[in-house]
Symmetry: C2
Subunit: 205 residues, 2 copies
């Protein structure tokens, strides 16, 4: 876990990228590149711009690839330059990962055929339609591919990866550094736990 590449694109969900980023950057020696078809500011859902520092062809063999999700996934899933890069890079990674609907991009690149995987709860059917073997868990590991559920699940995914790669003590150190002792004021974070009316309303949006 030295070189981490995080794909950026217009319409990403900022927390999908920044949650795992904050975990990885706490690992001593980690170098994180933000990669895009065109470097420069990428517009996240909601208006924040995150800066992409590297072109695709400048990042060939990261140890970890992270693909975030967001509304921009539909366009990225048809962008052959990005999909080719993902396939090439995946051949070299130690870990290929996604947060939220980033899994749909990995699937579009052909990486998830028959592979156990997950995504945001509203996109589980779309992921299945792309050939993945959908698993309704927060973090799903299949060999070197680790996918995670919606948005905030990327933090759990990244801590899991640090534990697998560098051991429990490093993962616990990072967890304490970012004081990740979650205490949500409500218990509505999954469709199984939220009030059914809220689930239905969000499903229709």
């Amino acid at each position: 876990l030295v070189d981490v590449a995080i794909l950026l694109f217009d319409g990403l969900t900022a927390l999908d990228a920044v949650g795992p980023y904050e975990v990885f950057r706490c690992v001593p020696g980690a170098r994180i590149s933000f990669v895009a078809a065109e470097p420069g500011p990428k517009l996240a859902n909601g208006g924040l711009e995150l800066m992409a520092s590297h072109r695709l062809d400048e990042v060939a063999n990261p140890d970890v690839l992270l693909v975030p999700g967001g509304g921009g996934v539909a366009a990225v899933s048809k962008d052959e330059a990005i999909l080719d890069w993902i396939r090439r890079v995946h051949g070299q990674t130690r870990w290929t990962t996604s947060a939220c609907t980033g899994a749909l991009v990995l699937a579009a690149a052909g990486l998830l055929k028959g592979v156990p995987a997950t995504t945001h709860w509203r996109s589980l059917e779309a992921l299945a339609a792309l050939g993945a073997q959908v698993v309704n868990e927060r973090v799903v590991r299949a060999g070197k591919i680790i996918t995670s559920a919606g948005v905030s699940a990327g933090i759990d995914m990244a801590l899991t990866l640090v534990g697998l790669e560098l051991g429990q003590e490093m993962a616990q150190t990072v967890q304490l550094a970012i004081e990740y002792d979650p205490q949500p004021p409500y218990a509505a974070g999954s469709p199984a736990k939220a009030p059914p009316a809220i689930v239905e309303r969000l499903r229709r949006v």
Copy 2:
């Protein structure tokens, strides 16, 4: 909760800003401004650049002010232009908030004298030295000021604020939208829970 202003500066911790951002931007109608002494890219700890969209004098009366933390807090705490802006804006806000060591900036601005507040566990003593009444909880509300513990605690803070301002149903809707059903693979997210040797090592860093 219509206009949210998030202060950016070089040396911020990205997740301190982006965790609450992701919560606030899921509220229908919310407008979020990223404010800095100089607009443009701000370098977060670890290398990511976040774009500041507004100058201080362009944002005078947000409903919510969020001050993130990070290594850059030392410099920001001596920047009279920023501290003046915080004091002025605080006079108009419905809620004035911080994540992580952003509380030290609120304290430097004179907002926390005798006020119950919290920050990253490693900075609790520094916060007390600035006159705050330190409370060792993850989210601390004192009137319209809400401070939160280290880094990831900003997510819990923002959900708490949405619940207070807009009600439980909206907060639960946002929580489900970002699938915030945390399942950290370890239980090491606070100094009370982490192995003592890890706590001691991080304390010395």
